[in-house]
């Protein structure tokens, strides 16, 4: 990337942030992390009985698990062993470690029941809040 660096260096120094520039080489672009997905209950045709919330963001985990998963994701040693088996192709059926949710938060829902009564309920584990590699 010499020509890139030299062209970047032509720019006024204020706009060029060296640490930002090198950050892209430190971690893979699409590393395992949390992504948003704003679902409106009308997409599931549930808005006739779910009164609130209007939008629900369950979030999801997506991305590649880097090799050093231990310190970044709190993964157990088993994950690194599985990664080694995968990278050395010791067995084709062993997949690469997966990017999955590690923690969740609850969701409060206001619903109209079939008999016309109204219920406010709090459900556990409805929104992913943290990802890990397993």
């Amino acid at each position: 990337g010499e020509e890139t660096v030299s062209s970047e260096l032509q720019k006024p120094l204020a706009s060029f942030n060296l640490s930002e520039y090198f950050k892209q080489f430190l971690f893979p672009q699409n590393e395992c992390e949390l992504h948003d997905f704003r679902l409106s209950f009308s997409q599931l045709k549930w808005d006739s009985w779910i009164v609130a919330p209007h939008r629900y963001n369950p979030r999801y985990c997506k991305g590649d698990c880097p090799r050093a998963v231990g310190h970044r994701y709190g993964s157990p040693v088993h994950t690194m062993v599985q990664n080694i088996i995968y990278e050395k192709q010791l067995d084709d059926s062993v997949p690469r470690p997966s990017c999955v949710p590690a923690k969740y938060s609850p969701l409060s829902v206001l619903t109209v029941e079939p008999d016309g009564s109204i219920a406010y309920k709090e459900y556990e584990d409805m929104i992913a809040t943290k990802c890990t590699c397993r």
Binding site: L44, R55, L107, D115, G116, I118, A119, Y120, Y123
Partner: protein, 289 residues
Amino acid sequence: SQASRGEAQIAASAELESEAEPWSLPQPTGRRDGSGLLSPLFKVLCDEPGGAQRLQPDSGALRYMKRLYKAYATKEGIPKSNRSHLYNTVRLFTPSVQHKQASVDQATGAMPSVGLLFNLDRVTAVERLLKSALLYTFNDSVPFPSAMQCTCHLLLEEPESSGQTLPRAPYSFPFASQSEFRKKHKWVEVDVTALLQPLVASAKRSIQVSVNFTCAEDRLWSPSARDSPVSLVPPSLLLYLNDTSTHAYQGWYSLHNKRSPPQAPGQRGPSACPMGREAARGVRARHRR
């Protein structure tokens, strides 16, 4: 073969799960399923048409529950952490009016009353009652003098179908102060936990009460005050419950883990009922052991 093996595994695990917790699988609509949210989720996943037809809720009741939702959860639907109550479920039932006695009964002198029937079919076996209240809605058409002292008389009745007779012990609930009737308050809750606890605990599916409401202008304000019946919109029934199923959020429990609950009883707020305190004390005792 991979896919069919997978489906076979799903069916097998569903079979296992159904033995373990029957309510966790989609029940045919109309039966009491333990978790209202999950069965429609399964229906969507199996590409079945959306949920069953639903009766339209009362608009005043819906307005109250939206207000309660805003008090308990953020716009994204996250339960607020400054909660001081123990319940994770609130159900509001609107009554079907059984009978109405519009004026004072000349023979018995009984005040005008209204018979209400509440169908509690949606309350599941895993929901524990912590508190119940009659919810009165005041619309602007009912003229209320500024200072009122009111009493609500309740009489438990047994639906004809059951044939049993309950002790017709009337319950009276005086209102603490006229401040509850200031015009800006749209709703007033009359706590009837003591009255309904045994009925809801015995998994009764319907409750019939006859209610009458008498108010007297505050003697201090107008010496010529007299008891006068007030005709109000029939009240709804609010049940504050703790859903003990694994899918329900036990917020007060996780709060207990993070930090000790507020000690001073006043901090807990009026909504926690003695039963709830017992439950929380039980958890705390277990923890200490």
